[in-house]
């Protein structure tokens, strides 16, 4: 009955080998999806274990060394194996060529290679759990990381390899966006998700090599003691922090910029409204990408860097807040006079707006020099970056995943369960992390295995929230997997969207477009053309 299914990228060609050696960007996107979901599961289990241990002071479940390993692994796995590849490598890979009317990315073989590199690097990283664990925190600060007896080398080597995967994806996307666009699809006609991916890719190729050399030098410091970062050999641990944050601060924007791109799509589609201030949103992505390289020192206000450097970094940090603010206001203005439908992806987009605003505003606290001195390395910082990373990126990712789910699989998930889950995640998230703002301001330092009794009620509250959050993700896994096999058949354009990927069959054929796509309207021309929802 379903010839579209039989001819779709999911079924042609068939067989495991055709997946493992595929050059199709859509299949590679799905391979990445399985990879990062595995990483999310492992990282999430570590997060829950950490939260359970913190339910009460002293020993609750595990001893201090195990706890230190668990929070390190939670951080390292979530950042390097989940959130950095999350949106670009899965949704980006799946959608970018479809959105610009291309048949594939510029370098399909490099694309597949990047997935294998990702798996290879992940194997190293996961191996370090077996090989004695790592207890340095995901930042690997020297000299602790040069002295630690854990499997620091295999973990850093794993992350070094994962960096190549990130670079390959970024390189591929930049060239694809420059060279593979449909003739006539000019820069200002691109969907904003593509702009987000473009800005992300620029950061990926510019920043990741510095992470590479940082980790190489760290490995050399451990093996030869070359004396650049290790004070015992005459090196400077603060210089390590400069190196590390030169990558890791822009990396925060590798995580959030594609999320912002997704939100731009979702807000426009579910308000059925031309996006407000297209150029401002597009350019603010590039502005964020650029300024993100100038602000890394705000992680180091109490680290012993000079007062002059701290001041410069603080000033530049505030500059990066402005384009983020512009985006939020433009999204809000897009809702004005729209036709707003509250489908699940839109619920995630609205959650994003709510949570990201909190994350952004608390970031201003941390950028202000004097206040940061009090809040640095406390739970306030933990709460802040979870609001940005999880409340921001993960919410956007989930919104995007639900929005394009039918495009990927040709089937719908259960809308009712999806809404219940969205509520669970929203509530669980806020219970878990909002309490941590109070903990941090009260002076609770981060990475504490044990804590003073006065912090116990808030810690317990936060731990309960994490269980709600975890339950939400379990339910989501169930209904999403169920939908792949039994979900209601989806039509070509169930949301009434205007971007190109909704003009081809669902799920798409291997070559994406059965006939050359036509540019009859732009991605947000809701004021010119009435697009109908087509769903079966």
């Amino acid at each position: 009955m379903d010839t579209t299914f039989e001819r779709s990228y999911l079924k042609t060609p068939k067989g495991l080998a055709s997946w493992l050696f595929t050059l199709d960007h859509k299949r590679i996107g799905l391979l990445y999806l399985f990879g990062i979901m595995g990483a999310f599961l492992i990282g999430g289990v570590f997060a829950l274990l950490v939260r359970l241990e913190l339910f009460g002071p002293d020993k609750t479940l595990m001893d201090a060394d195990t706890y230190n390993q668990f929070f390190t692994l939670h951080g390292a796995i979530m950042i390097f194996m989940f959130i950095i590849p999350s949106i670009p490598a899965t949704l980006g890979n799946f959608l970018l060529p479809q959105m610009i009317g291309a048949r594939d990315v510029a370098f399909p073989r490099l694309n597949l290679l990047s997935w294998y590199v990702y798996i290879f690097g992940s194997v190293f990283a996961v191996y370090s759990i077996a090989a004695g664990g790592v207890d340095t925190g995901w930042t690997f600060y020297t000299p602790y990381s040069t002295e630690s007896t854990g499997a620091v080398i295999s973990m850093t080597l794993g992350i070094f390899i994962l960096g190549f995967s990130s670079i390959f994806t970024g390189l591929n996307f930049i060239v694809t966006i420059h060279k593979m666009r449909l003739p006539g699809l000019t820069w200002y006609k691109l969907p904003l998700f593509v702009w987000g991916l473009y800005a992300t890719a620029i950061i990926q190729v510019l920043a990741t090599p510095v992470l590479g050399i940082t980790l190489l030098l760290l490995i050399m410091e451990r093996t030869f003691g070359i004396g650049i970062f290790d004070p015992a050999m005459g090196g400077d641990p603060v210089l390590y922090q400069h190196f590390f944050w030169f990558y890791s601060h822009p990396a925060v924007y590798i995580m959030i910029l594609p999320g912002m791109g997704i939100i731009s799509e979702l807000i426009a589609v579910f308000s059925h409204r031309r996006i407000f201030g297209y150029k401002a949103i597009a350019y603010s992505s590039l502005a964020i990408a650029f300024v993100s390289f100038l602000v890394w020192g705000h992680h180091m206000f109490t680290s012993g860097q000079s007062e002059l450097a701290a001041t410069i970094f603080s000033f530049l940090t505030f500059l990066v807040g402005i384009p983020s603010g512009i985006k939020v206001f433009n999204w809000l203005a897009t809702l004005y006079k729209g036709k707003i439908t509250l489908d699940t992806p839109m619920l995630y987009a609205l959650s994003f707006l709510f949570l990201f605003t909190i994350g952004g505003l608390t970031g201003v606290f941390l950028g202000a020099l004097a206040v940061d001195v009090h809040l640095h390395d406390t739970y306030f910082v933990v709460a802040h970056f979870h609001y940005v990373m999880m409340g921001g990126t993960v919410m956007a990712f989930l919104g995007g995943l639900h929005y394009w789910w039918s495009k990927m699989w040709g089937r719908h998930y259960s809308e009712r369960w999806a809404k219940i889950t969205c509520a669970l995640i929203f509530i669980g998230f806020n219970v878990t992390f909002f309490s941590q703002f109070f903990l941090g301001a009260k002076g609770m330092p981060r990475r504490y295995y044990n804590y003073l009794d006065q912090f116990q009620p808030l810690h317990a509250f936060s731990s309960v929230g994490s269980l709600i959050l975890g339950a939400g993700f379990v339910v989501m896994a169930v209904y999403l997997i169920f939908s792949i096999f039994k979900g209601r058949r989806a039509g070509t354009n169930p949301w009434g969207a205007m971007t190109l990927e909704w003009t081809n069959p669902t799920p798409p054929p291997p070559e994406n477009f059965t006939e050359p796509p036509r540019l009859e309207y732009g991605p947000y021309d809701y004021d010119r053309v009435a697009v109908e929802r087509t769903d079966t």
Partner: protein, 315 residues
Amino acid sequence: MDTAGTIFLPPGSSTLAGDVDALFYFLVYASIAVFGIVVFALVFFIIRYRHRRTEKLATTQGPSHSLRLELLWSIIPTILVIIVFVWGFRVFIRMHVVPKDAMEIKVTGQKWFWSFDYPEGIATVNELVVPVGKPVKLLMSSSDVIHSFFVPHFRIKMDVLPNRYTVTWFEAIRPGNYDLFCAEFCGDGHSDMIGKVRVVSEREFAEWLETGTAGGEDLPPEQYGASLFVGRACHTCHSVEGQRMIGPALNGIFGKEHALASGERVIADENYLRESILEPQAKIVAGYEPVMPTYQGLLNDRQIDALIAYLKSLE
């Protein structure tokens, strides 16, 4: 300036706290205002422009951009953040310029306790005793990895680096006991690297300096040793109830034979215990990491004897 504790911040107990808190609360109220505007607009638009799936979708008309509005919400936040930057910067400079008349105390962070050396030749562990109303300059360094000196009530935090001095200062405005945390991850004992700042009156401080490290010398040796065991942070890593912690449990070890990491065996007599306190790396008990720092200079002979007496008394 005196600020009471709130749901956010602990009571401010140093001269700097008022300045920091003022900016903090400015940020809290400004954030609530901005957040309120965003959420109000969000909820209002959702209710006002809600669309049911059953209705037909038609074209929507609304502004595609508005230079005036976009300038408005670019310029106002810019002005706000510049105010916050300048404000934060001014307080930050105050934090970093140590008053000329400050008394200087040497702080050493090591795994996993703090030690304080007074110019008068007194040394304390995990307890910083200072007079109220007098600026105190802390000259800090670490003997192993990076630590961070953090007293929430004083709103100060500064990393303590190996091989280099860093400086911070405060002036306490109220007598009392305040928590001192290590805020930079430093290993298994990181969360137990907790000390106290005891702020006392000028007179009490002078008396304390006279009597040395808070007395106890007149106690029987076992009791004095017991107080030192806590006061010198031995209990951070050693249990006296038999559990394995970062270091081995110390009850009932005296006079018994123990296996060392080198494969040798040793009887735990007075000499061995003394050596283990002053040169901890000389003999490592099998199954433990060589992480204990030396107590050379932190304990005098009488105190070491008292500690040994205490360990002997444990079952």
